[in-house]
Subunit: 96 residues, 5 copies
């Protein structure tokens, strides 16, 4: 899974019918402290995440292993909201 920050959202009226009602959030991959470093991608939210949250995203067919994304044409899903990250015994991120 990637550690990612939710930075925005996407509106799309014309889409595959199976995506109806799905929340499409823009994420950016971060380093191990939660600082955005990577390029943006869009993931379907399944845990009620919001802009500013640090999350975990699962990709590929693994992104379809939730009740919300099963059998849908999506390849990335937000499946956890991160409370804290600990690296080498030190807390490097804590959700405020």
């Amino acid at each position: 899974m990637l550690i990612a920050k939710v930075i925005g959202n996407t509106v799309a009226t014309i889409k595959d019918p199976k995506l109806e009602g799905r929340k499409l959030l823009i994420c950016r991959e971060t380093d191990q402290t939660g600082a955005p470093t990577g390029k943006p991608y869009v993931a379907v939210d399944t845990v009620n995440a919001g802009v500013g949250d640090l999350v975990l995203t699962a990709h590929g067919s693994s992104g379809r292993q939730t009740d919300i994304t099963k059998d849908t044409p999506v390849d990335a899903v937000i499946m956890a909201i991160i409370d804290s990250l600990q690296v080498d015994g030190e807390v490097v991120f804590r959700k405020s």
Copy 2:
């Protein structure tokens, strides 16, 4: 999913029979504002997208979860046309 701009199309007479009649569009990945930054790839259109549209593409086995791409040898599908992108509370792209 990747945010991508449709930049062109592909004509291929000799192809896997399951691709007959499929529209093969050339896409380029963009940043979170819709500006093309990445390398090109080809995706099957399922939402009647056209050159100039900003779209979402799903990849890998997820690209086969539409009625049009089911069981076909394609690994990328356009499954949404983007109306707008909002980043950090600001609209950064709106379809004209």
Copy 3:
């Protein structure tokens, strides 16, 4: 799918039995005009492609959705030979 140029072929006597008789071509990813830019990879030919052809390759499990590659340990397949590429309304490649 990737746009790729076929640049060579591979001979391998010792291989998974399911690959017997398969044509293993060396491809290089190209930009949207068909100029090679990426690194090489090997794909199974399913459309009688040859060295010099510009082709489309499908990857991952999608590479196994042809009659020739079904259930075989291959992750890339040539599933179309490109006749022409059109970008922003202009023909940028035409098969000679």
Copy 4:
């Protein structure tokens, strides 16, 4: 599989129910001697690994082929703890 070093862990209260009780470790890809060189990612532990261990991680759908990750929305799993690495006939890493 990637050779990776376990560098930390992740706490996430809000998550897909199928992830309940799973240990989510932060890994960093290494070179062939076990020195971290790549970017971080999160993998589910299935072999009781800990911070500092050098491990192998399997990705994508292969990450779901363990008893612990079956049918769950995870795309990376730690499936082995490395005892030693030998490159060109020389031991370049040995677990202390």
Copy 5:
């Protein structure tokens, strides 16, 4: 598939039970002449390859389409030993 050189091996006592007895070789991706250029990864051997061999590796779920890797948590498999590579009509690699 990737063209890769086998550069070493991995010993791991603690591992997923389905990996028992599997040979885990360290590979490095090469260019089209067989010269190592990429980063290392670990693949399960299914063709009795050894250090120094130039091989083909299949990745992702395709890595599980051999008798040896079926249903196991591995995402890369060596499925062919390369005898020769021919690029633009010239032999650029021949197994010694």
